[in-house]
């Protein structure tokens, strides 16, 4: 069953000076008990997408001007702040990039871990405390009872991230959004946190949207991968398909630029040019200006749709014109009708 579905999501940021189009039509689904890894470089709209799912983008300046975010069939964008508060922290939880910043420095760990439970469940303080200690233990914090009485600054980064994870999972949410949860941590701690998340998601049957720019990190935990570039999903596939074969020219270049042990090359291949920023809804393919496979005017003018090329494996979608002649199946592309419905007001 589809738990979360993003349909043609567009987010722009309006200020008096300019308007920046950050997310330009993101489509992806997360099935129950599935981990979706969202990969993309800095500024490609990963975090904006995550925050719009949580309804946490400050508006103004943020403006979700097109699209839908369907959670269990309801469009989260239609909900009031009060209705959203019933879902946030209860059914959808979030882990942030830097636990040092995401924990309140002036409140004890115990208070912060119990908070989601006390907010969303009718539960006594004593029970909540017991539950919090249990979940801190499950998150690998042995001396949980003591940690409950401490302030965030007296924990290390890895421990803080474990606390964040405990805080997110204490209400046993069906969906966990992890926004680069390991980026701020040491490599060894990263591995521990990834193992922990992998174990916990099996224990709790939690689906996950795992956002990162680190392909090796995400490939270990994900079931599916979605590659984002300049505010769009350019390719999605299962991890196996993805590691075996990349379809989109951007993904191909990206994979080439990852250094591998044993590589003898003097210089890593790079992608020429810079990520474009848009002051209007982009036309054509967002990668056209840097694409090694650039075909011509159609790349500049026609927006390629996410679909499965003829000789690709089932479910391996990409949005690129080089496969245009081979379009066979068109999955998850917005029909003209839905586009007309969600067209900018």
């Amino acid at each position: 069953m589809t738990l979360l579905e993003l349909k043609n999501l567009h987010v722009r940021f309006k200020t008096r000076a300019e308007t920046v189009y950050a997310v330009n039509g993101v489509n992806f689904q997360v099935e129950e008990n599935q981990v979706l890894g969202v990969i993309g470089e800095s500024g490609c709209g990963k975090s904006v997408t995550a925050l719009s799912i949580m309804g946490l983008l400050p508006s103004p300046p943020a403006d979700i001007h097109q699209g839908e975010i369907l959670y269990k069939g309801t469009n989260l964008l239609d909900l009031s702040e009060k209705e959203l508060n019933r879902i946030r922290g209860n059914e959808i939880a979030m882990i942030y990039q830097d636990p040092m910043e995401a924990l309140n420095p002036s409140l004890k760990i115990g208070f912060q871990v119990m908070e989601p439970l006390l907010t969303h469940r009718d539960i006594s303080k004593a029970d909540a405390r017991e539950r919090a200690i249990k979940i801190l233990n499950e998150c690998g914090l042995a001396d949980a009872e003591r940690i409950m009485g401490q302030y965030p600054h007296s924990l290390s980064g890895g421990m803080q991230q474990r606390v964040m994870i405990a805080m997110a999972l204490i209400t046993e949410p069906s969906l966990l959004i992890a926004d680069e949860p390991t980026t701020a941590l040491d490599v060894t701690i990263q591995a521990q946190i990834m193992d922990l998340l992998d174990n916990l998601r099996n224990d709790f049957n939690t689906s996950m949207v795992f956002i990162t720019h680190d392909i090796p990190v995400v490939s270990g935990i994900s079931d599916r991968i979605a590659v984002m570039y300049a505010g769009k999903v350019v390719e999605t596939a299962t991890v196996e398909q993805f590691m075996e074969n990349q379809l989109h020219p951007y993904t191909q270049s990206l994979m080439k630029s990852i250094p591998k042990i044993g590589d003898t090359a003097e210089e890593l291949p790079i992608i020429e040019g810079v990520v474009p920023t848009f002051d209007q809804n982009p036309k054509g393919c967002v990668f056209a200006s840097r694409c090694p496979e650039y075909l011509g005017p159609e790349c500049d003018n026609e927006t390629p749709r996410l679909s499965v090329p003829t000789d690709a494996a089932q479910g391996h979608e990409t949005a690129c014109h080089i496969y245009a002649d081979e379009y066979l199946e068109t999955v998850s592309k917005p029909t003209d009708q839905t586009i007309a419905q969600t067209e900018e007001k």
Binding site: G89, Y96, L103, P105, S106, T119, S156
Partner: protein, 308 residues
Amino acid sequence: MPTPNVNRDPQSAGDTVSDSLTDVTEGDSTTDKIVSVLVDLSQNKLAVIGLLYVFVLCVVAILAPIVAPYDPSAQNYEVLNHPPSFAHPFGTDNFGRDLFSRVVFGSRYAIFLGIVIVGIQAVIGVGLGLVAGYYGGFTEAVIMRIVDISLSIPGIVLALAIAGLLGGGILPLIIAISLVGWRGFTRIVRGDVKSIMEEEYINSAKAVGLSDTRIITRYILPNVASSIIVYTTLTLPTVILWSAALSFLGMGVHPPTPEWGALIAAGRSDLQSAWWIATFPGLAIMATIIAFNAVGDGLRDVLDPKQY
């Protein structure tokens, strides 16, 4: 600037479980914090002297009937306008009342007015500041414009006008100074809230699904607390000075009440013949204000080292 625990070096935060356990002792952390703030404060000599003075002043205010050698309103026609002597350390006034006893009882008014007025100012100012900073937009614009407009009128003039309008006396004095002073709290709190709102932990509190009220009271207020404490200690002397000033100008506490400002007003006409009547209450006001300022400065250095 959400660093209420600045006294603890963040670098010393443990990297392993065992490290961190030696770092923090369990127990009532609020008292721990107060103790550690006091320890840091004791490094500052001026602040220690100030704190001692404030402490003595409070004791004197509470124990005024015991400390004062005479009844402050008892008139003695044997000793009219006597200069300072052993029997009357601050001398006597033109009714033969012992000035030392009057100054001692005056400390009650200073402390009482200071605490009550600053308390009212803080409640109004902090509340409005939190609302303005948290909600932003139109709400903020309205609140901050009111602050700006009231700031364009000199405070003491406004207070004088309000007190005069209400007819003078102790209650009008409290109302007048409270209504004028809250705006400083609003400015400080609103600015702090704005910067705290940018912190990720506010987002993470929202992601938990908490209501606005809960986020404001439990997540933002504690992080603004150190600024509020510092500003309160620095406002207190101003408020004491202002209440003395209003009383001096006849819009506050009236003679024969032994309020310091009123005492000065009463001694003003005799300044040439009996300098001590106005001088000693004046010195009391001065010392009190310097002491509170020293404590406030010291506290600011301890609680908020980034702000100078």
